[in-house]
């Protein structure tokens, strides 16, 4: 009932002349986070959006993730203009179409690993009997050890938590994974595991991965690197030889 229906067979997301301004604290002052961004990402791509802090990459990620609406411009997701959708319709997109992985993990501390992974299924209206099986599959795909399924997140290491977050992003089978600095709070080795997971998901399952980062090393794992500076795209290059994340 609440499935995202793709109105167009060519699955892709397209930003047309997107601008975003924030009203500052003082009257009349506005901060321009994005100025006229044009960006098209096709299904199955692995794109890194790079830029220093303040470049507008987080704002871009929020708009891509239907968490925020642009001030002007159009955001077409599978041909539909997201900026015109209601709060409920945006919620469906976030639930079905996009899986989020955050830098700060964002697990519910009072719930078990399985319950955390099941949250998107709850909002998708999946019947309770099916949820656990789906969550177990997602956790296994994210490389999470089955013996920790009933642990609470405060009993897990950073790497384990990020795997849970990835499993949660995958559980509703979204076409797009949107990861905001997913390795930011991890050491190099666990960071590599996470990146390896993304590459695997991209290559073997054909999922679109959009990776937001400020680190070159991380961005090099993507097949396309979009660089932002001061709210505008300054470069958009194809990375012919993405770095393989070695575990």
């Amino acid at each position: 009932m609440y499935r995202w229906v793709n109105p167009d067979s060519s699955s892709m997301l397209e930003l047309r002349d997107i601008s975003k301004t924030y009203a500052s604290g003082q009257v009349g002052l506005e901060t321009c986070a994005l100025r006229g961004v044009d960006l098209t990402i096709h299904d199955g791509e692995f794109v890194a959006i790079m830029g220093p802090s303040g470049s507008g990459k987080s704002t871009l990620m929020h708009i891509l993730g239907a968490l925020d609406r642009p001030t002007s411009g159009a955001y077409l997701l599978d041909g539909r203009d997201v900026s015109q959708l209601s709060a409920d319709e945006l919620a469906v997109i976030r639930n079905q179409k996009i899986g989020f992985v955050f830098q700060s993990f964002n697990l519910l501390p009072r719930a078990t690993v399985l319950r955390n992974v099941m949250i998107p299924l709850v909002y998708a209206g999946v019947i309770p009997e099916k949820r656990e099986a789906l969550a177990r599959i997602a956790l296994t795909n994210a490389g999470f050890d089955e013996s920790h399924f009933t642990h609470r997140s405060n009993q897990l290491s950073g790497g384990q938590i990020q795997r849970v977050a990835i499993a949660r992003a995958l559980v509703n089978d979204p076409t797009i994974i949107l990861a905001d600095e997913p390795t930011g709070n991890l050491d190099t080795r666990t960071g590599a595991i996470v990146l390896n997971t993304f590459q695997w998901l991209n290559e073997h399952e054909g999922r679109t991965i959009i990776l937001i980062t400020h680190e070159h090393d991380i961005a090099e794992h993507a097949r396309r690197v979009v660089t932002l500076r001061d709210g505008a795209i300054v470069s958009d290059v194809v990375n012919r030889q993405p770095r393989k994340a070695t575990v």
């Binding site: 919620a91 469906v92 639930n95 009072r110 949250i119 709850v122 909002y123």
Partner: protein, 408 residues
């Protein structure tokens, strides 16, 4: 959309995560509901007590008294009560001409000095007829009441109220057959009435009943009456009977203008409704004070919910990012508030029952918990949950997911 079972699970987890805070918040509602229930129960008990004590004077009673009441309310009429406008003839006239009369009791009462060997007391002497026990709801505990024979023969016999008996012969003493002197005239005690308790208007326990005829001949020396008490056949004909009495008496007294009547009639229903008006106001006052505490409890809920929403801002942001609709978020917080108040309501009703029970057992007042106040309390507590939970829930639902996610 989230299922109710999911919301309940979340609510249970969220509330048990903050047990101390949840229970303190509930306490406000518990106290509010408990006080509403018990205060209304006490008020209801007081009302029942007043009504039953008035009813104990006799059922469906209309009192006719000498002297007049004029205008609205009781304009004080000089000499009222001592007026000698009611006579035995009036009793006969009412009996013959007024329909729906079940019984009629003519009375002549006054205070006299009463002596028994070694003691004396000043009490109310009621010259009564055979109908008195029926009309005034008095029963005889020992011995007999005044009979027609006593009335015909001007017998010097007396029936004592229990208080009068205690005063004259000692508590619980056997007074039958003993003699007392009323106004220096010797009377033989033939009965003692059952204890009724003070009614606030007349204390029938502290009275001595003697035949009306005896009173008129030996004590007063005149044939007037101090009151005629008429029992209507049922509550529905009370006003008909009252009007009938007024018409008949005006006629027999030869008075054309009802405003100049030399007697007055008092309908028992009027007294009951006047008295219950007072206790109803009293109940309302108690309920209102209790209602204020309920309101304060509700504000406590709102305060806690606002704190919870702020504390869980990141959680709200995360849930929104994972596909929660505004409706899902507000349902979650609203359910928390409603569960809190409902739990408080259940506990409050139990404590309200307990307080009412204790008050009744302690003998303060026979508190009566009415079903309607229980339903009202439940309804109000659920409504408080919705009303005071709505604003925090809406705040959570309207939260911008990004702001919520970034919240530290």
């Amino acid at each position: 959309m989230t299922l109710p079972s999911d919301i309940l699970l979340e609510t249970g987890e969220a509330l048990s995560a903050n047990k101390a805070r949840s229970s303190l918040t509930i306490l406000g509602i518990v106290i509010g509901i408990a006080s509403v229930i018990s205060m209304v129960a006490i008020g209801q008990g007081a009302q029942n007590a007043v009504t039953s004590s008035i009813q104990s004077l006799g059922a469906n009673l209309i009192q006719v008294m000498p002297g007049a009441t004029r205008g609205v309310g009781f304009t004080v009429n000089q000499g009222r009560g001592s007026a000698k406008t009611l006579t035995n003839d009036d009793v006969d006239a009412i009996l013959q001409n007024v329909p729906y009369v079940a019984a009629i009791s003519a009375e002549l009462s006054g205070r006299y000095q009463v002596t028994a060997p070694g003691t004396n007391t000043n009490t109310q002497i009621i010259g009564a007829t055979v109908a008195y026990p029926t009309v005034r709801n008095v029963s005889v505990a020992e011995g007999v009441f005044i009979s027609d024979n006593h009335l015909y023969s001007f017998a010097k016999v007396a029936v004592l109220g229990p208080t009068a008996r205690d005063d004259l012969f000692g508590e619980g003493a056997d007074a039958i057959g003993k003699t007392i002197r009323i106004n220096r005239i010797q009377f033989t005690v033939i009965g003692v009435t059952t204890e009724k308790g003070g009614s606030g208007f007349t204390n029938q326990d502290d009275s001595i009943f003697i035949p009306l005829t005896t009173t008129q001949r030996y004590l007063v020396g005149d044939t007037y009456l101090t009151s005629i008490n008429v029992q209507a056949q049922n509550a529905d004909v009370m006003s008909t009977v009252q009007e009938g009495i007024t018409a008949v008496l005006l006629d027999t007294h030869g008075i054309v203008d009802a405003a100049l009547a030399d007697f007055s009639t008092l309908n028992q229903e009027d007294i009951v409704s006047a008295a219950s008006g007072v206790t109803e106001t009293f109940t309302l006052l108690l309920g209102a004070v209790a209602g204020i505490s309920l309101l304060v409890g509700g504000i406590g809920i709102m305060n806690m919910m606002l704190t919870t929403v702020t504390e869980r801002t990141r959680e709200v942001g995360l849930r929104k990012a994972l596909g929660a609709r505004p409706g899902d978020i507000s349902a979650q917080f609203l359910t928390e508030a409603v569960i809190l108040t409902f739990a408080g309501g259940v506990l409050g009703v139990l404590i309200g029952f307990l307080v009412s029970f204790i008050v009744s057992v302690a003998g303060v007042i026979d508190a009566e918990v009415t079903l309607s106040s229980v339903f009202l309390a439940f309804g109000v507590s659920a409504a408080i949950g919705v009303v005071f939970g709505y604003y925090p829930a809406r705040r959570a639902a309207r939260m911008d997911p990004i702001v919520a996610l970034r919240y530290e």
